[in-house]
């Protein structure tokens, strides 16, 4: 099987324990110095963007970042830097093999006030809801990036162009900064190198695959595979290491808590755990990308059938089904669950809940992980500093947003399963 013949992906980690502003971008002894002026200048000629401001937000600071679009881990392919984020930023090359340097403990956050610049309701499908990262306070446990040293890129969009055009620039620019920050590691010695391998394994261990749900509903609500939207995707088999190595990037700005930020593709707890367990408690037999938010019942059933058939073809005994966003897509998850179970493929699902419980259900869904209740309110917090804008979508000062639903925090209920949040019965 091809994946087993692909040379290992070697993740070389370089620790970041502080981030500071300076005159050059460099990494010394764990301190990432960022040439903010230089970065801002490099964004000067971006089509659709009037300007970009760099801010630094550290763990524990009394700071709230709003209008957060995406989080990206700084990475670079040291042996071929021009192929980092192939298709989305770099030139096309197979991701998921060879060495990748990553800045551990750091993140690039992109912010932009689409809602304030454009009438987003003119889009066919438009993003909704505030998107916060709180570096401290009661919201901090609800977002991963309260614990990372963040380089925040706040983009000012040009109202004269389409939101799609501005967004294309924002995404490229964000990925470029992520690569540039990681470039500080070239020639340096990593703290550790983790090889991720998928050797052939014989014997009786159960064959487990992942059916990773993605969506592509148009500009601002999109996911990219090697740089192109996954629109109309037929279930597609990938090497999980491709996903860990920049093949999949995010451009989806609906409900912050249930997005899959690029960072969670890069660091996926699910894919990493399965890779570690490969040969030990299971055989990780493949990762299937499957589209959700099909508009018609027929298309939903069809996609579910195709995903299950593909899982069957790679001889999966079991599948982990992830979900993306909520509502409509939960039906896609349930139909895929049913299609798999009917082929004898046992499933576990990852789903977010609301105050009303599960959005949809089929009897075959007897094994479901709850990643939390979207609607439960997180207590109010008044930060000293707000980055990325001034007001919430409803017009309140962002520092006085009051209690907000858990889904307001970026990635809080990500149904790829990277967070430890869970809902329990009371």
């Amino acid at each position: 099987m091809p994946a087993t013949r692909t040379p290992a992906l070697e993740l070389a980690a370089f620790a970041v324990r502080d981030v500071v502003a300076g005159t050059e971008t460099a990494l010394n002894d764990g301190v990432l110095t960022v040439d903010a002026v230089g970065l801002e200048a490099s964004a000067a000629d971006l089509p659709g963007v009037l300007g970009m401001k760099v801010s630094l937000v550290r763990p524990g600071e009394s700071a709230r970042v709003i209008n957060v679009l995406d989080a990206v881990e700084p990475v670079i392919k040291p042996d071929a830097p021009g192929t980092t984020f192939p298709g989305a930023l770099g030139s096309l090359a197979a991701a998921g093999t060879g060495r990748t340097h990553r800045l551990e403990g750091a993140a690039v956050l992109a912010t932009a006030d689409f809602h304030g610049t454009y009438d987003v309701t003119t889009l066919d499908v438009y993003p909704d809801g505030d998107s916060f990262v709180d570096a401290a306070g009661p919201g901090a446990p609800f977002t991963h990036w309260s614990a990372t040293h963040n380089v925040v890129l706040s983009f000012r969009c040009d109202p004269a162009v389409s939101p799609a055009e501005a967004d294309a620039s924002i995404r490229r620019s964000t990925l470029r900064v992520a690569r540039e920050l990681a470039a500080t590691t070239m020639g340096a010695r990593p703290r550790h190198v983790e090889p991720l391998d998928l050797p052939a394994v014989s014997g009786d261990l159960p064959r487990v695959c992942v059916i990773l749900q993605v969506a592509s509903e148009g500009p601002l609500v999109d996911t990219f595979l090697y740089g192109r939207p996954v629109r109309d995707l037929v279930p597609t088999l990938l090497d999980p290491r491709e996903i860990l190595d920049g093949a999949l990037t995010a451009g989806q700005y609906d409900w912050a808590g249930v997005r899959d930020p690029t960072y969670f593709f890069q660091r996926s707890s699910l894919l990493c755990e399965l890779l570690h367990a490969h040969g030990d408690t299971l055989r990780f037999c493949g990762t299937i990308l499957a589209l959700a938010y099909w508009p018609s019942a027929f298309d939903k059933e069809r996609s579910a059938l195709l995903a299950a058939r593909l899982a069957h073809q790679i001889d999966a005994d079991a599948a982990v089904l992830t979900t993306f966003q909520s509502g409509n897509s939960h039906t896609d998850t349930m139909l895929t669950c049913r299609a798999c179970e009917r082929l004898g493929i046992r499933t576990v699902l990852l789903l977010a809940e609301t105050n009303g419980g599960l959005t949809d259900h089929v009897p075959e869904a007897d094994c479901v992980v709850s990643v939390g209740n979207e609607e439960e309110l997180v207590p109010e917090w008044r930060p000293e500093r707000v980055v990325g804008g001034e007001r919430t979508w409803s017009g309140r000062p962002a520092a006085e947003a009051g209690p907000v639903p858990a889904v307001t925090y970026l990635g809080s209920l990500c149904q790829l399963g990277d967070m430890k949040l869970r809902a329990v019965s009371w």
Partner: protein, 339 residues
């Protein structure tokens, strides 16, 4: 700490009588009455109401009871225990819910399957009890203990620890493992035969009863939520938010004649059904099958209500009551039609 307590009971526990007093309107009594004396603290006021009265005049009954409650300014309201009773439980759950939403914490005690649990909608705390009144001695101190803590403004822990029924809330907590780690763990357990889940659909799981051995021996009943009633709606069945279910004799009827029956359901276009009510409830077809010996017999009573915006708790209560009637009458199977 002295707490001010109100206690709600029905006509029976208030000493007014049994079924004969079930139509008693709301009543306010000083101090503790009946089981209230066993709560272990001073009850400032006892409120009572006949179970039928509450069911048939819910809005008025609630308004009066809540008015009295408001005047008393109590720290906590205790309702019941109502054990397995459907109507009493429903009244307790409804009153407790409304009180809680108005800022008066409320505790009920009832059997887990009582429709009062649904009626409480998670706003009030429900202590699970036996179905029978013999559970009184166990129930009272449990309800009193919880009531005392609510009155004191204490934070109440999770249901399993504190001995009340889950209120239907799903609250966030931080687990030890990521969702992904838990997913892999659960999946491997499932493959090994141990099926566990962190969340289930919040719907009823009713194990299917065994199939009928031979339908040629069985008595079948007809039940409907389509709002089918005799022409003129003599008992004033509501077109939505039904307060009651009704029953009508089918004796001597080979089918439903359009002149004699109509539907009052407000949730769908009724002209098709009114032209031929058998389209709602297949009486004519069932008569044929009985005549041919395919079905043993038809239960000669139709049970009908309007399932339009009727709250789930109410519908659950109706279902339980109708089912009880059918069981008592020896019916084995039901054809239920819905619109």
């Amino acid at each position: 700490m002295v707490i001010k307590v109100a206690h709600y009971i029905n006509q029976f526990f208030a000493g007014l009588g049994g079924e004969d007093a079930a139509g008693a309107p709301p009543l306010r009594l000083e101090g503790a009455v009946g089981p209230g004396k066993g709560l272990g603290f001073e009850v400032a006021v006892t409120l009572a109401c006949g179970d039928d009265y509450f069911g048939e005049h819910e809005e008025d009954a609630l308004a009066q009871l809540l008015r009295w409650l408001d005047e008393e300014k109590v720290d906590v309201l205790i309702c019941g225990p109502s054990f397995g009773s459907g109507r009493y439980g429903y009244a307790c759950g409804s009153l407790a819910r409304e009180a809680a939403r108005r800022g008066v914490p409320a505790v009920c005690g009832m059997h887990p399957e009582s429709p009062g649990v649904l009626a409480a909608e998670g706003a009030a705390y429900v202590v699970p009890t036996d179905a029978k009144v013999t559970g009184m001695r166990a129930a009272l101190p449990q309800m009193a203990a919880l009531a005392r803590r609510l009155a004191a403004g204490e934070t109440i822990g999770p249901p399993a620890e504190e001995g009340y029924m889950p209120r239907g809330l799903r609250r966030n907590e931080i687990a030890d493992l990521t969702g992904a780690q838990r997913a892999i763990e659960l999946l491997l357990a499932k493959l090994a035969g141990d099926v566990r889940t962190e969340v289930t659909a919040s719907f009823d799981d009713v194990p299917p009863p065994p199939p009928i051995a031979d339908m040629a021996d069985a008595t079948v009943a007809l039940v409907t939520e389509s709002g089918l009633v005799p022409q003129g709606n003599p008992d004033r069945l509501e077109s939505n938010r039904a307060h009651a279910w009704l029953s009508y004799s089918l004796e001597g009827l080979a089918g439903f004649e359009a002149a004699d029956w109509e539907t009052v359901h407000g949730g769908y276009g009724t002209s098709v059904a009114n032209a031929d009510p058998n389209r709602l409830v297949p009486l004519d077809a069932v008569r044929h099958l009985v005549a041919e010996g395919r079905v043993g017999s038809l239960h000669e009573t139709l049970y009908t209500t309007t399932g339009n915006s009727t709250p789930v708790a109410t519908a659950a209560k109706f279902g339980q009551e109708i089912a009880q009637r059918l069981r008592d009458a020896g019916v084995q199977a039901v054809i239920l039609t819905g619109t």
